[in-house]
């Protein structure tokens, strides 16, 4: 069974990736940004493809809400 990558895997500097992620939504309203994030989610889920990996990611995302 494939395991979700839990260590940093961003090519190059993580800070640079994060800046790019934020910059990609610059100028969008909250509503547009939420739509953008939803489309991004589907695009990335399709890229990963592996249902078991995705399930691990869904579960991990659940762990962090307060």
């Amino acid at each position: 069974m494939n395991q979700l990558t839990l260590t940093p895997n961003f090519a190059g500097e993580a800070d640079a990736f994060y800046a790019e992620l934020i910059a990609a939504q610059a100028g969008l309203s909250d509503e547009q940004a939420a739509d953008w994030l939803a489309r991004l989610t589907l695009i990335l889920c399709n890229h990963i493809g592996d249902r078991e990996l995705l399930r691990q990611a869904f579960a991990l995302a659940h762990q962090h809400h307060d």
Partner: protein, 526 residues
């Protein structure tokens, strides 16, 4: 077209007050009960069908008939007529807001007798079935016979029936309930019927376009299925447009959870909705209904000598055309098994296998139907947003298209764990595995393989003929379309059940193995 009726007559049995024992009584003269009656009659079983009405239900209701159903209809003599009278559509278009999100093509697989799908209003299909039943001397169709009591003992069932001449009792060895979602039979059995009720209301309207009217560029000569998510003429909801025969179109408007049902029934209001959608008033309203749907099934499909089939056993949303299609396939699965048990050729386990296989099919259909429904009516702001994302992406990338779900085409369920199947001993590179439907193929001398399957078990022999006692053998070329569809090579043999399901397959013929598989498929494991 005039719809046939089956008026009430007092029967001899009733007048004499002396119940006559019947092998099979079917409760309910809808598409499922009538299909089963014709199937049993073809196996030379006398059948009585009772129905609380004496006529075909009003309105079109079910519209789409899938290939497997058409093949079943063909075996009982009405398939060619339904395929001929039905509308064949190929292109489906999905709109999101103002834009077309994507279009799909059913791309009919060539070299099948029956198309992937035809649209024909349910009353027209029932009319065909009723006429066929009325021509068959082995079937007695009794109108205005309402089932109000049902008792079982070791030898059979007693049905108490209310007629215009009062109550009387009938006796049957076996009873099949095909009496719809509100099945009185199921209630009398005390069987639970559980699942999910969807709160959304839907309005269906059948409209006939005036001659020459082509709303939104729709060409009546080239019918298409159109589905809108959140269209400008019906904001926040979905709308479906489907072609039916005789110039009739089916429109299905989602009304939401808080719809005022009484106000929505007003014909003026319905016409206004249709006019806004079509952009014309050049139509007449033929029929309409408001409904709410459920995805649920009975806890069991068998209770002693009573079996449930069709909506009496399971109910789905209309998206995906799985209601009537799965009901007809219930009848197809049950007919040969019941006949074999009545004739003493099959073990009682055959009827348990009916329940096993059709419960599996019902759960499969309910799963597909629930997913389509959840996509069509999202339950949270986030699921609505993800749906919007899928629809927006589908307009310009391939990746999101398979996520867009306006109903998935009904396909026969693959019963891979069926107790009637013999697992493969040889490695197979493809083709239907045991428990899966047997595909059609054209025959060299003309005609179709699907026409030659049934009414009993059949052995397909690829390459050269073989012989097995009491088994009909169809010899097919060792190479070519049929061989490739079945994953066969010269010398392969496949045992096919009467309902066109693969029971077992081998690359090398062995008469003893075939006999053992045949016994197992009869519910008599050796």
């Amino acid at each position: 077209m005039d719809l046939p009726r089956y008026p009430y007559h007092q029967t001899l049995e009733q007048r004499a007050g002396q119940p006559q024992r019947r092998p099979v009584v079917i409760v309910g003269a809808g598409p499922v009960g009538l299909t089963l009656a014709l199937d049993l009659a073809k196996r030379d079983l006398p059948v009585v069908v009772i129905d609380d009405s004496d006529r075909i239900g009003e309105g079109s209701r079910a519209v789409c008939w899938a290939k497997k159903t058409l093949e079943v209809f063909d075996r009982i003599g009405v398939g060619e007529a339904v395929a001929r009278e039905g509308v064949r559509w190929q292109r489906g278009r999905v709109f999101h807001g103002e834009r077309e999100a994507y279009a799909f093509d059913l791309l009919p697989e060539p070299h099948h007798k029956m198309p992937a799908m035809v649209n024909l209003q349910q009353d027209q299909v029932e009319a065909r079935l009723v006429r066929a039943v009325q021509l068959d001397p082995r079937i007695e169709l009794r109108g205005k016979h309402e089932l109000i009591g049902l008792e079982q003992d070791g030898e059979g069932a007693t049905l108490t029936v209310r007629t215009p001449d009062g109550l009387f009792d009938m006796r049957a060895d076996w009873v099949v309930a095909c009496d719809g979602a509100r099945s009185p039979t199921r209630t009398l059995l005390g069987l639970g019927f559980h699942g999910q009720v969807f709160e959304d209301r839907f309005l269906i309207a059948d409209v006939r376009l005036a001659p020459g009217v082509r709303p939104r560029g729709l060409d009546p000569a080239r019918p298409e299925r159109w589905f809108w998510f959140d269209p400008p003429f019906h904001r926040g909801q979905s709308v479906l447009l489907h072609a039916q025969a005789d110039g009739l179109w089916r429109i299905d408007f989602q009304l939401g959870r808080d719809a005022d049902v009484e106000a929505e029934r007003d014909p003026a209001r319905i016409k206004a909705r249709v006019a806004a959608m079509l952009g014309t008033e050049g139509f007449e309203l033929a029929w309409s209904s408001i409904y709410q749907f459920c995805c649920r099934r009975a806890e069991r499909f068998r209770s002693g000598r009573v079996l449930l089939a069709g909506d009496a056993a399971h109910q789905v949303s209309p998206f995906g055309a799985r209601g009537a299609n799965s009901g007809v396939q219930d009848a197809d699965n049950l007919g040969w098994k019941l006949a074999a048990v009545v004739k003493g050729e099959g073990g009682d386990g055959l009827l348990d296998s009916y329940e096993f296989e059709r419960l599996e099919a019902a759960d499969d259909n309910i799963g597909h139907s629930t997913r389509a429904t959840d996509f069509i009516s999202p339950k949270s702001a986030l699921s609505r947003r993800l749906r919007k994302a899928a629809l927006d992406l589908a307009a310009h990338t391939e990746l999101a298209k398979p996520l867009v779900n306006s109903g998935r085409l009904s396909m026969p369920t693959e019963h891979v764990d069926s107790p009637l199947s013999t697992p493969d001993a040889d490695p197979w590179a493809g083709g239907p595995s045991p428990g899966c439907p047997a595909p059609d193929a054209p025959l060299d001398g003309g005609g179709w393989l699907s026409e030659r399957l049934g009414p009993g078990f059949v052995l397909l022999a690829f390459g050269w003929p073989v012989e097995v006692d009491g088994l009909r053998v169809i010899t097919l070329p060792g190479e070519g379309l049929a061989a490739s569809r079945y994953g066969a090579r010269p010398g392969s043999v496949l045992l096919i059940r009467p309902d066109a399901v693969v029971a077992a397959r081998w690359h090398r013929f062995d008469a003893a193995a075939v006999q053992a598989a045949l016994a197992r498929a009869h519910g008599r494991p050796s």
